[in-house]
Amino acid sequence: MQVQSLHFKRRAHEALGNATLQSNLEKFGAGGLALLRARAVEAYGRDAFERLRDAGAEIRDRSLADLDTLIERFEREATARGATVLFARTGEEARDLVLEICRRHRLTKAVKSKSMLSEEAGLNEALAAAGVTPVETDLGEYIIQLAHEAPSHIIAPAVHKSKDEVADLFASTHAKPRKTDIPAMTREAREALRAHFLEADLGISGGNFLVAETGSGAIVTNEGNGRMVTTLPRVHVCITGIEKVIPTLEDFATLMRLLPRSATGQPISNYVSLFTGPKRPGDRDGPEHMYFVLVDGGRTNLVGTDMEEMLRCIRCGACMNHCPVYKTVGGHAYGWVYPGPMGSVLTPAYVGLENALDLPHASTLCNQCGVVCPVKIPLPELLRKLREKQVDRGLRPWTERAGLRLWAWAALHPRVYAFGTWWAARYLRFMGGGAKRIRKLPFAGGWTVSRDFPAPEGKTFRELYRKRRGA
């Protein structure tokens, strides 16, 4: 997918001006996944859930510390069970591998369950160009594929769309009377998808986890489409990031207590699929050929660095569900595959700091994301580190640098500072006039775009305090 993250501000501006999107986002923010998670945590017991988060972080750290051996073990075990494990350095390489698999098995139609890596690789466009029709089968993904849009959320890809927008889309695509009753709309989509499932010769899934000890891939879905994608077509390709590997099924069980609760507030998702090798002689179903395409895509660059904690991520989406910025501008503003706090760390880490200059700054550092992350990724700390890296590499505008230098210098020289604030308190008080507020702030016009700046009282604390002590 093309990286548009440099245009975050413009895209956010457009999102803020889009009334339909704002109304959809408001609904999502008010009663959405965050609320469901809170209830699930309450039901599980807050302290117990905290211990679970510790356990989750520990599993992911342990996995990352041993990443190379675990991947080798995964490859060995998966191969021993009849699967083929392929490695790709980049999204493009992953795409080429999948196209090669299509050529080898003469495949013409792919059904897909959710995969964000497929977005990283721009897989759908490549498949279509090579004559393989891709059909997204996750309901949200299906909707945005019909609308020719990208996902705006990693687990609820069409969360930016309203029921009415989807109703219009279905009416024009399915050539059936327009419906607005959600169960009826879902049924209609299921009927349309059923034919695709039966026709497809390729199933492409993502992978939530790779279990090294058994060479299994695991996916978590609610609609059952993942089960169909991984069992019906004669070839199954699981495409996912190399960092998803964990040591054992026991670890998988622990992480599965965390993932659905954090994502949708469910104690367990409707379907949990573990796929281990292709169909064996005597098996009644399953693919004839099974491939794992494991993608680096910038991940190994983070191993062993101060950004490694980001690789713990299990893609639950809780950070964006709780992010005031995400909830205000939506996922498309972030300009690449991954939105919200995790996206603001991953995008610059994967596609380059210089290609996503705004993202590390597009956060109030409120730490809502940090406290809900199931594997305790210190997201605000990582965003701050990215900001430091930008400064170190001279990627910030000189005006910002100069302003900060000046402020720091003054703050280190109390007399200069006292004079500066003495002057500023009076000047801003004067500007505030009778209403004691400033409509347009000099040097910080961003503030007064959408709010007033309350004027100061007029004298600084330090001068008043000195006077009081002197009196």
Partner: protein, 243 residues
């Protein structure tokens, strides 16, 4: 108890009355308040903008100014959180300094936390009549666990009624330099906060951080709300909220 008051740069420049209210409350709790005259800023703007060196230089300055105090108290969860939870990591490569900073960090408190849990203020001096709603500022809440403390103190004021707004723990959109760099987004987040405040039916929104205060007041006034007061918890507790 000798308590060093970290006034904060925003209180110094914008709302000196909050600083004096804090002194009054600390004195009412029996503390000897010391205000280092050379204090300026905790270093957060630099720290959050990626200028670690500037943040560290200011951290050393704060350390020198407050090291001798029994406690450091700030009328801000944000600045107290900076000193308490972020200063130590700035000195990862200087163990001796880090140890001194950690000793200071252990004695740092946000004002209401200090009044409720350490100094155990016996009588809240202020009086207030009306309904208020409390905004939980992010750093105070999530870095320092400030949640029940201000509410417990406010609950001891007879004429005051607390009504909780929806999503009171949701960020107001301030975020320091974020509010200027992304003014439009920041304002849109503040707008949601303002609607929650208005929906609560409170006469005043009370909070513990100047940044949130300026942000919320600025947005309320811009959207035409001239009546809902925006007050620092120190002003309310000290009975200085007539402004």
């Amino acid at each position: 108890m000798r308590v060093g008051l970290f006034v904060t740069c925003l209180v110094d420049l914008m709302r000196p009355s909050v600083g004096f209210a804090a002194i009054e409350l600390l004195e009412a709790a029996g503390c000897a308040v010391y205000v280092p005259p050379t204090q300026t800023c905790c270093g957060q703007p630099g720290y959050n903008s990626g200028d670690r060196a500037a943040a560290r230089a200011l951290a050393e300055k704060v350390l020198a100014e407050f090291e001798d105090c029994e406690y450091l108290v700030a009328p801000s969860g944000s600045c107290a959180g900076m000193i308490k939870t972020h200063y130590p990591e700035l000195f990862d490569d200087a163990p001796a300094l880090r140890a001194r900073v950690e000793r200071l960090a252990a004695r740092v408190h946000e004002l209401t936390d200090f009044l409720a849990n350490v100094a155990r203020l016996a009588r809240v001096p202020g009086g207030f009549r009306g309904r208020i709603t409390y905004h939980d500022s992010c750093s105070g809440l999530r870095e320092l666990g400030v949640k029940g403390q201000p509410r417990a103190l406010l609950a001891r004021m007879p004429g005051l009624e607390l009504v909780e707004m929806g999503d009171c723990e949701q960020c107001c959109g301030f975020g320091g330099t974020f509010s200027v760099k992304f003014g439009e987004i920041s304002g849109a987040i503040a707008e949601r906060k303002c609607r929650a405040i208005e929906a609560s039916g409170a006469d005043a929104v009370v909070l513990g951080d100047l940044g949130c205060m300026l942000n919320i007041e600025g947005r309320l006034r811009r959207r035409g709300n001239e009546t809902t007061k925006v007050l620092h918890v120190a002003e309310v507790l000290a009975g200085k909220s007539g402004r």
